[in-house]
């Protein structure tokens, strides 16, 4: 088979600029051949190299005394949680593949992130997902939504990992370009941390997992282009199919193998498959690597070196084995009926060498390929639309006269409505560790003995006291669109607030930057500003970034998506008594608001960018609410202190939909069993704020507010503690009855709980019928 000649057109088709091509020639001291060109193109794609975002990512805080493996070092970061235990977690996007084939795209996204976690030596114990789609009134959007959800369910359920939390938003800007971000968290002992480095000259390199096919050819490059109808069409031939069954076996075999100590280095074959795993492991260890493609198991006949190197067939791993211990690998992989092959060895040349039947095909300095991609400082310009956003006032927007109707409408708005249609399709309990299921502010998972990978002696090691990990994922992209910096801060703050409400102390953050085309200066501005906001937020809550993912070029023919820097935060709860949920518990409990009722320095009174303005007035504009991170931090510390003192029965943060929606959620969100909610009413009195607009009071989204319920006998203790902690503590009502009533002086809102529950619980299912 003759290979195509290297022409400028071919270079361009590979997404490389003429300057980048010159740089490649300098590195090689010659012109690359076809396979080498392919290799550079995927490794230097945004997806693998972060060439457009690396300078921005430097602004993230990445250090704390608890971090064992930091951002960018390995496939995922690792954080110490005490008693010799640690957690590994990360989020990753699979947006473009999901646009082309929602079921498989989402499924393989889950598979990919699970591999990143067990590659670190950790046993994956739970998953999260963050999703964005267009409007559910479109049949195509419904197809994408249901495909993505069943793809995630299929992979996670079959693999046997509980999917315990997530978020879903619907907005026109995502039409045709849905976002699918998947998160996974795993647990391990400190001494079990595995490295993706090709250490030990002469060590054999093993390929394990299913044979390589033509699937996902150049997926990384695909992820680094605008999504046009044409590119979607071209990618049709390249759909990766996930096999969770295979991945489960690969994981069990890898963890069993890691316990033997026979492994010198391990890395999954994710984006850019064999290419990325070979050159990165060599670059990390400062070694070289040589493989022969004729030894790589192949699924399709006549595959070219180019295809084998760039294939993104799923569920494959590269393992560098300590010389002399090959049999251990073979025995374990045979036990699990998994294919394996010895494909090469580690060298001291620093080169990534690929042969085919002994014939030299590729010879590239590994480190230059992996670490020296060009870096671009893109031009950034404030988007023109922001001027109009800032000019927006509430003048001409008349106050609401039907607050109960508004509340029902908001609760039934798919972005706010219960996501049970989604998470009931996910096994969120498997592995017997889920303590708080989807449906509260943060999910909580118990870390117990069998959460861990086994030790060499086949045991789980010394006993320890169970620990609890809390997780949430958040991003209000409308805020980010309207004010990238403030919106970035709020995304982090909301996530941290969800953790605080559940009783957890943040440990770390992982983020997924989903944006449009960075060559557009206005989009680069969104990116730059929101990253600054995220970084500020992570600093404020002492939740350093341990890793993340960048997904650019999220555009459809109508333009870019709303900037969506998804934030997932992980926290720790040591004592199960401190686990706190969002719903009201008992009749007669006192409802307390922590924080200011409304930010009176905000001329839009919290309505800018609010769900209320979007849904009721059809307006997606106005300055979003401001956030003061110092206050916010004080609030989180305060609520945790109250929880620890044992005076809090429930805690729920105010976010989308404001105080009224949050109160309603406190009344209706506890689920006892299938179709059996527990509804508990509340009477709230806000008449003292009679001078304020009702819409702002009820539906404004002023930040830094938490609703607590407290037993009457503990009210005074709670108040004393709160005041000592410098919190604003205000009794606003009482739990009980079968209605939610909010008295204001402009208007009263009162509704039967069943009337609130119905639209909230069923909105998505009905939209999907």
């Amino acid at each position: 088979m003759t290979e195509p000649a290297i022409t400028p057109e071919l270079v361009q088709k590979h997404g490389l600029t003429p300057e980048e091509f010159e740089r490649i020639k300098t590195i090689l001291g010659r012109s690359p051949n076809y396979t080498e060109l392919g290799i550079f193109s995927v490794m230097w794609s945004e997806h693998c190299s972060y060439k457009n975002t690396r300078p921005l990512l430097k602004g993230f805080p990445t250090k704390s005394e608890k971090i064992l493996v930091g951002a960018g070092e390995e496939n995922a970061g690792i954080i110490d949680i005490g008693d010799g235990l640690a957690i590994a977690f990360k989020i990753e996007s699979h947006n473009h593949p999901s646009a082309v084939e929602p079921f498989q795209g989402a499924a393989t996204g889950v598979g990919g992130i699970i591999r990143d976690i067990f590659t670190m030596g950790a046993r994956p114990i739970c998953a999260l997902n963050s999703l964005r789609f267009g409007d559910l009134t479109s049949a195509e959007v419904r197809r994408l939504f249901s495909g993505v959800v069943s793809g995630i369910a299929h992979y996670g359920n079959c693999f046997g990992i509980p999917t315990v939390a997530g978020e879903v938003y619907f907005d026109k800007s995502y039409e045709g370009n849905p976002l699918v971000n998947a998160f996974c968290l795993g647990v391990l002992r400190h001494e079990q941390i595995a490295r993706g480095a090709a250490h030990g000259i002469g060590n054999p390199v093993f390929y394990v997992g299913p044979a390589t096919g033509r699937d996902g050819l150049a997926g990384a490059a695909f992820a680094s282009q605008d999504l046009t109808d044409e590119s979607a069409d071209q990618q049709r031939g390249a759909v990766q199919v996930g096999d969770p069954f295979m991945e489960k076996l690969v994981m069990e075999a890898c963890l069993e193998l890691l316990a033997t100590g026979a492994v010198a280095g391990i890395q999954d074959m994710g984006a850019a498959g064999l290419t990325c795993s070979t050159c990165e492991t060599a670059a990390r260890a400062g070694t070289g690597i040589e493989i022969d493609l004729s030894k790589v198991p192949q699924r399709a006949p006549n595959m070219t070196p180019y295809e084998i190197m760039l294939s993104e067939s799923q569920e494959r791993m590269l393992i560098i084995v300590k010389k002399g211990r090959e049999v251990e690998v073979q025995t374990i992989f045979d036990k699990w009926d998994l294919p394996w092959a010895e494909v090469g060895f580690v060298t001291d040349t620093g080169q990534m060498v690929v042969k085919n039947h002994g014939r030299l095909i590729v010879d590239i300095p590994a480190r230059k390929l992996a670490d020296e991609a060009p870096i671009y400082h893109r031009e950034s310009r404030e988007p023109a639309y922001l001027e109009a956003v800032r000019r927006f006032t509430l003048q001409g927007i008349s106050d609401t006269t039907e607050p109960a109707q508004n509340l029902k409408a908001l609760l039934g708005w798919p972005s706010i409505a219960s996501k049970n249609w989604v998470y009931r399709q996910y096994d969120h309990m498997v592995r017997n560790g889920s303590v708080v299921y989807p449906g509260s502010d943060a999910a909580i998972v118990c870390i117990k003995e069998d959460s861990l990978p086994v030790l060499p002696d086949g045991t789980f090691g010394p006993k320890f006291k169970e620990k609890f990990i809390a997780m949430a994922v958040d991003c209000n992209a409308v805020y980010v669109y309207l004010d990238p910096y403030e919106g970035g801060k709020i995304a982090v703050a909301e996530c941290a607030r969800n953790l605080a409400c559940s009783g957890a102390v943040p440990l770390g953050t992982t983020d997924n930057l989903n944006f449009g085309n960075p060559h557009n200066p206005e989009i680069f501005y969104q990116l730059r500003k929101s990253v600054e906001g995220l970084a500020e937020g992570c600093r404020a809550f002492n939740a350093p970034v341990t890793g993340g993912n960048v997904s650019l070029y999220n555009q459809n023919p109508n333009g870019a998506i709303d900037p969506t820097p998804t934030v997932a935060m992980v926290g720790l709860i040591e004592n199960p008594a401190h686990i706190t949920t969002q719903w009201f518990k008992d009749e007669g409990d006192i409802i307390v608001l922590l924080g200011e009722i409304i930010d009176d320095r905000d001329t839009l009174l919290g309505l800018g960018g609010s769900a209320y303005l979007q849904l009721i007035h059809g307006l997606k504009t106005g300055n979003p609410p401001r956030i003061n991170l110092e206050n916010e931090k004080k609030l989180h510390d305060g609520v945790r202190a109250l929880i620890t003192a044992g005076v809090v029965k429930s805690a729920h943060d105010c976010s989308d939909g404001g105080l009224a929606v949050a109160l309603a959620e406190c009344c209706i969100s506890q689920q006892i069993a299938r179709e059996t909610p527990r509804l508990i009413g509340a009477t709230v009195d806000l008449t003292e704020f009679g001078s304020l607009r009702s819409d702002a009071l009820l539906f404004g989204e002023t930040q830094s507010r938490i609703i607590l319920s407290v037993s009457p006998t503990q009210l005074e203790a709670a108040r004393t503690d709160a005041l000592k902690l410098g919190l604003q503590f205000r009794e606003i009502g009482v739990v009980g009855g079968d209605r939610l009533t909010i008295r204001g002086s402009q208007s009263n809102l009162s509704a039967q709980l069943t009337e609130l529950h119905d639209p909230w619980w069923n909105a998505i299912a009905r939209a999907m019928q």
Partner: protein, 237 residues
């Protein structure tokens, strides 16, 4: 007691079953690999939940061909007690150890949520510890849990008291609305004629500790343990 928990490729509730039998109930448990030919000496066998062989072809279809299933057949034929949970129930049906089959939920969707159940009989070891009339709250997590059997099989199940669990409302009513998957007669679990092999779709092992939100599932294991203890006790002289 000594229990064996089978482990097929992609069993994924195996550890959960071990955890409950060992750490919660204090018995000794061994994982038994699907390629093994023998169960060793055990008092009871759990066929755990999961997606054996990725649910490829049909749930449980390939797992039942595993070498260990011969030993399970033998164990059951000798009167040993076997409990299949979720995928384990599917495997036991495929293996012919239990009548009927489990097909796709009528919603066509996977469902993970707590449901209400009632024991339809207390004759079985798996239901004897459940106070009569008590409604249990136990989670399900399956895509193919709709129990199907032809009419004559259903008649036999009823006649021989083989229906163990039925889906109910919170009040214990057997209604169509309380049926999460379309199972005939709201069947959630059954046993064989002899009563020593049982299967159910809900996960009692996920409802055995307060921290996990319900302890109702423990009753299933406790009854089983009582029965095993009685068997072990030499007949009173």
């Amino acid at each position: 007691m000594n229990f064996a928990v089978l482990q097929f490729p992609a069993s994924n509730c195996d550890q959960d079953a071990v955890h409950v039998l060992k750490n919660v109930l204090g018995h000794s448990v061994r994982l038994v690999w699907h390629k093994d030919l023998s169960l060793g000496s055990v008092d009871g066998v759990v066929v755990p939940g999961g997606f054996s062989y990725g649910d490829h072809l049909r749930t449980g279809a390939i797992a039942r061909m595993s070498p260990i299933m011969q030993a399970v057949q033998q164990f059951a034929a000798n009167g040993g007690t076997v409990l299949g949970i979720c995928n384990g129930f599917q495997i036991l049906c495929e293996a012919g150890l239990l009548p009927g089959a489990l097909i796709r939920n009528r919603s066509l969707q996977f469902r993970c949520e707590h449901v209400y159940l009632k024991a339809a009989t207390r004759r079985s070891g798996f239901t004897r510890a459940i106070p009569s009339g008590q409604v249990l709250r136990v989670p399900i997590a399956h895509g193919e849990g709709c129990y199907f059997a032809d009419e004559s099989t259903l008649k036999t199940l009823q006649a021989k008291d083989q229906i163990l669990f039925q889906y109910t409302t919170a009040e214990g009513q057997i209604t169509d609305a309380a049926n999460p998957n379309g199972s005939l007669l709201n069947i959630a679990g059954i046993c064989n004629e002899r009563g020593n092999v049982a299967g159910l779709m809900p996960h009692p092992e996920r409802a055995s500790e307060g921290l996990m939100g319900s302890t109702d599932g423990r009753l299933v294991f406790e009854g089983w343990l009582q029965e095993l203890a009685e068997r072990k006790r030499p007949l009173a002289a």
